[in-house]
């Protein structure tokens, strides 16, 4: 139990990931599939961001060493943590994962946009966004192409 509690961020990531993937695989509605895909991609964001979090760490914006903000931030730190790692002053969270995920979010939004645009065109061409109906229509078309010649 304590293992799960200690790794609750990963548990949340795994649940989101599987939920997203399940929606993608199980639903036949193209829009729902895109939603599932978006959830799946978001779970990666959570994975990265939670990796970069340092407990009681603050955003990676340097503060003036003499400023009262620095004192206030330093006071937030857990004394046990300070004793263990011997930190003096402010602790920052790792900013790199945030930057990476910013990029991944942009990629995700672009994919979502292209996917939804294709779904719109599918609806215009087939009159449906249900994958199984489209499948039937497509098969019919393949069969017709066969019988013409």
């Amino acid at each position: 139990m304590s293992f799960i509690l200690l790794h609750f961020n990963y548990v949340a990531v795994a649940i989101l990931m599987m939920a997203g993937l399940f929606v993608v695989v199980s639903s036949s509605n193209l829009i729902k599939r895109m939603i599932g895909l978006a959830i799946f991609q978001t779970s990666t964001g959570l994975l990265y961001i939670s990796l970069g979090k340092v407990s009681s760490g603050t955003a990676a914006i340097t503060v003036d060493a003499a400023s009262p903000e620095k004192q206030a931030l330093a006071n937030h730190l857990d004394p046990a943590y300070v004793a263990q790692y011997g930190v003096a002053g402010v602790v920052y969270s790792n900013p790199l994962p945030h930057v990476l995920i910013l990029t991944a979010i942009v990629v995700g939004v672009a994919t979502l946009a292209v996917g939804l645009a294709i779904a719109v065109r599918v609806r215009e061409a087939f009159g449906s966004v249900e994958a199984d109906e489209i499948e039937v229509l497509s098969r019919l078309e393949s069969a017709q192409a066969g019988s013409q010649a």
């Binding site: 993937l21 895909l37 991609q41 990629v107 292209v114 996917g115 294709i118 010649a149």
Partner: protein, 507 residues
């Protein structure tokens, strides 16, 4: 006689920024093409952008051959903090392959697009094509694992849109593109998750740095999980059996421009990245890596080579035959790489280049015929050789090469593979290659029989010879299939340099 020496004697001197210019060139050209006023100008921009990238790739290949791997720090920030481009023999080979495929496809697109896509869409098609090309070039030159993901997605998003644009000819292009998008995105996301695990374990994203730090970690379970995610993710992108579900649809319904480009490069670059991870980034001696190669990669690749060849034999649509054949050939490439010897890897890479060349020839010839004969089924192409002898001849050259007829590139490629497998003592791999080659003969025979020896049914629509702009690149590629079959020193040296870069220190 084209050899490495003549190639890099012709290579322009490397400007300091060639690696980044190679990627930025098509990227900038994509923006210009999207804004260009007419279809014609966008085509010219596309050809110029692709040629510029090929010129840079040639410069890099020359530089790598003379002075070893090229390092380029983006913005002057040194790794591991900054993003670095790192192009060694393998990267140079891939860059040359991708950019020359880009040049051929863009020249070809001048006429073929007009038949397949509405004229007002051409500017956007060319822009997406250039984006796709820039993404793939970036993918093979980057030395940063996360950067590779971004380039992978840049190229893929371009490809999804391009497959969907095939709807003018056949509306089934749309569900095919959607399926491709879903599968591709799942693959890319799994890859990112894997990279996340590696980052958690090592705190770095630079491939060289990752490799050094992973070597000290041993069989950590985090690293193993990362390995699994990365391999499965890239396996989807590389259409590794049984993750190839997206490929036949995308290849059958996309416009010829993108199909020939994807067939020559898209799965190949993912194979490249996978090989890079398996052999370069992950420690060589790691048990999980060796087990994966022996118990997952090689058996699946062998299954693909056999099962998909059989499936290709039973398909009725010509492009689907070629698509399933692609999955089978990906299996053969992976079989070569799975030998994990210098000989095996260079045979695999040689096969990779050979397959790119022959599949490009085949899809180009089919696309050229389809301009006047908008048919899909093999039976509709019956007797085409009489109406369009040049296209049919080019098709035959590609098909014979695919089947491994002597005096063609395909023969040499299969021979190298057999030789490497026997040399490594893997009799069953050699047997698989032989059986797959025989099966290839079946479906190649079926295609050639229909095109050359059957006569068209009375009243059936007849094909017209493809226009010169389409025919020229097809014939050049068909000629190369034969040329390299007689004198393979260029692809051989490229593959050898690639294998050495991939397996530094292996037997």
């Amino acid at each position: 006689m084209i050899s490495f020496e003549t190639l890099y004697a012709a290579a322009p001197a490397l400007t300091a920024h060639a690696p980044v210019l190679m990627v930025a060139g098509p990227l900038i050209a994509a923006c210009v093409a999207a804004l260009s006023p007419t279809a014609r100008t966008s085509w010219m921009i596309s050809v110029t952008g692709s040629m510029f990238a090929a010129w840079m790739a040639l410069a890099i290949t020359g530089e790598v051959a003379r002075h070893g791997a090229v390092d380029y720090y983006i913005g002057g920030f040194a790794p591991p903090l900054g993003i670095a481009f790192y192009i060694d023999g393998l990267g140079a080979m891939m860059a040359l392959l991708v950019s020359s495929a880009g040049v051929m496809a863009s020249i070809y697109s001048g006429h073929s697009l007009a038949a397949e896509v509405r004229a007002e869409k051409h500017t956007h098609v060319q822009a997406a094509f250039l984006l796709c090309q820039a993404g793939l070039l970036g993918l093979v030159s980057t030395g940063d694992a996360f950067n590779a993901f971004v380039f992978l997605e840049v190229s893929s998003i371009g490809a999804y849109a391009l497959v969907a644009i095939g709807e003018k000819r056949d509306r089934r292009a749309l569900p095919a593109a959607f399926n491709y998008l879903i599968m591709g995105t799942i693959g890319a996301t799994l890859y990112v998750i894997g990279i996340g695990f590696l980052y958690a374990a090592t705190g770095t994203l630079n491939m060289a740095d990752l490799s050094a730090r992973l070597a000290t970690l041993g069989d950590s379970s985090v690293v193993q999980a990362g390995f699994a995610f990365i391999v499965v993710g890239l396996g989807i992108k590389a259409a590794m059996f049984p993750l190839h579900g997206w490929l036949p649809g995308a290849y059958s319904f996309g416009p010829s421009l993108i199909v020939i480009f994807l067939a020559a490069t898209a799965t190949k670059t993912s194979i490249y990245l996978m090989a890079r991870f398996i052999f370069d980034v992950f420690p060589d001696g790691a048990a999980f890596g060796r087990n994966f190669i022996a118990w997952v990669l090689a058996p699946l690749a062998a299954t693909a080579a056999i099962v998909c060849s059989i499936q290709a034999t039973f398909e009725r649509e010509i492009r689907r035959i070629l698509a399933f054949s692609s999955v089978a050939q990906v299996g053969l490439i992976l079989l070569g790489l799975s030998l994990a010897t210098i000989l095996g890897a260079s045979a695999g890479l040689f096969y990779l280049m050979a397959h790119a060349l022959m599949k490009m020839t085949l899809f180009m010839a089919v696309g050229g015929l389809a301009i006047s004969l908008p048919a899909r089924r093999l039976d509709d192409f019956a007797g085409v050789a009489r109406d369009a002898p040049w296209s049919a001849t080019a098709f035959a050259a590609g098909a014979l090469s695919l089947a491994g007829a002597p005096l063609t590139l395909g023969f040499l490629a299969k021979w190298r593979l057999l030789e490497a497998a026997l040399n490594a003592g893997q009799i069953w791999i050699a047997a698989t290659v032989a059986i797959a080659s025989l099966l290839t003969l079946l479906y190649v025979g079926r295609m050639l029989e229909a095109i050359f020896f059957r006569s068209a049914p009375a009243g059936a629509p007849r094909a017209v010879e493809a226009p010169v702009g389409v025919l020229a690149p097809v014939l050049v590629l068909a000629g190369l299939n034969i040329w390299f079959g007689l004198d393979a020193s260029l692809p051989e040296q490229l593959a050898g340099a690639g294998a050495k870069a991939l397996l530094a220190g292996a037997p």
